[in-house]
């Protein structure tokens, strides 16, 4: 089922704000002890901008809903996010390069806990 039926704004919100929202959500998730908070925030952003429930979103991307759930719950490292999720986040206006840097910084600064395992990895989605 489509979540949102209203017309999208003609001009998407400025990219920095959506990326900032990802950072803000990731910070909350990190405080909660989520293993890969930045990856989770990116996965949530991708679905949120699409405006779909999780099962419909998984079907659209051709992924198992369990895989999508694992990504959104922070059980998948940033660099291991499925390419369709990364691509969707990129298309939505999320700056994956900025977020990859954040994930890398957190991974390095916390000895791995609360990081995203992206050292040496590219952002998902081929960007």
């Amino acid at each position: 089922m489509e979540l949102v039926a209203s017309p999208r704004p003609a001009t998407p919100p400025p990219m920095p704000d959506l990326t900032r929202l990802c950072e803000r959500v990731a910070a909350d998730l990190r405080r909660e002890g989520v293993a890969h908070p930045v990856a989770a925030a990116v996965a949530l952003a991708a679905r949120g901008v699409a405006g779909l429930e999780r099962d419909a979103w998984a079907a659209r991307l051709g992924l198992d809903v369990e895989v999508v759930a694992a990504c959104e719950e922070g059980r998948v490292a940033f660099g291991d996010l499925p390419a369709p999720i990364g691509a969707a986040a990129h298309d939505a206006g999320v700056d994956l390069v900025v977020l990859a840097a954040l994930a890398r910084r957190w991974a390095g600064g916390s000895g791995g806990r609360g990081g995203d395992g992206v050292v040496g990895e590219r952002p998902p989605g081929g960007t």
């Binding site: 919100p13 400025p14 959506l18 929202l21 405080r31 949530l44 949120g48």
Partner: protein, 277 residues
């Protein structure tokens, strides 16, 4: 998907009036349908947020970010901060915080009442914005000069200062009230004494109301009684009454108890306040 298709058809008709020779009535009907579709979106988004699905936070921001930014701007201007209202970066950051606030309150939003979430939560949003932009440093005791007007009475100033938490977020913890702390570098003995005096009189709720009212007022909130009333579930006139009563009590204590003699030079505890008690 059916809903989406309906809306798409509606939207196409709205956006291509030349194909339909839309009359004024039809245009009005299209507008109404669009509003209905947006309302349905909001219901879905707020329902999702209420059950904890944080993806809907992004949906809210993506679909209604402009309206939320406009709300932030309006509150900033109401709070006498047009400088911040003109700062897109500041407005954007505050809009994100408003989205989080709405997410936290999503379960309580009732679409049947007709107000959009950011209108429904207007008072809470204003209080949150005021907290974020203005409570980092607030004068609790005004400067006070001596009888000659040259400050011989000493500068009676203390400031209640928000202190950043471990993650840098402003958390106000400790004295003189739960959630607030006297910052060590502005830790004026008079402020400690005033905190003690405030804590010595009245009910705990009334103490909180007084302090919150002073915070809001010092922060430039043009309607502190409304803001505080929302926080404490009180009518604005009740808030004003409590503030008057508490200030009188504090002043009365200061002028009747020698422990607080130092506060008698502070305008906050003026003799006329005590005499009015």
């Amino acid at each position: 998907m059916d809903d989406m298709d309906d809306v798409d058809r509606t939207r196409r008709r709205d956006e291509e009036p030349e194909r339909h020779d839309a009359s004024g009535a039809e245009a009005a009907g299209g507008s109404a349908r669009r509003e209905q579709a947006e309302q349905a979106d909001l219901v879905r988004i707020m329902t999702g947020l209420a059950r904890g699905d944080m993806a809907f936070l992004f949906t809210l921001f993506d679909r209604f970010g402009d309206a939320i930014r406009a709300t932030v701007c309006r509150h900033l201007r109401d709070l006498a901060r047009p400088d911040l209202a003109d700062d897109a970066d500041e407005v954007g950051g505050l809009a994100l915080e408003v989205c989080f606030l709405l997410a936290q309150r999503a379960a309580a939003w009732d679409p049947a009442r007709g107000a959009r979430p950011w209108t429904w939560a207007s008072a809470a949003i204003r209080a949150e914005i005021a907290r974020l932009i203005g409570h980092r440093q607030v004068h609790l005791i005004e400067d006070d000069t001596g009888p000659d007007g040259n400050g011989d009475g000493g500068v009676r100033e203390g400031r209640l200062v928000a202190r950043g938490g471990a993650d840098g977020e402003p958390t106000l913890a400790g004295i003189p009230r739960p959630g607030h702390e006297i910052d060590p570098y502005t830790n004026h003995p008079l402020l400690m004494l005033l905190a003690e005096a405030v804590r010595a009189v009245g009910r705990e709720r009334d103490q909180e109301v007084l302090l919150e009212f002073e915070f809001q007022q010092a922060n430039g909130d043009p309607s502190p009684a409304h803001t505080v009333g929302e926080l404490f579930d009180l009518r604005p006139d009740n808030v004003r009454q409590i503030v008057r009563r508490q200030r009188r009590r504090v002043a009365e204590l200061v002028w009747s108890d020698e422990r607080f003699v130092e506060l008698r030079t502070v305008r906050w505890c003026a003799r006329d306040e005590a005499e009015a008690a």
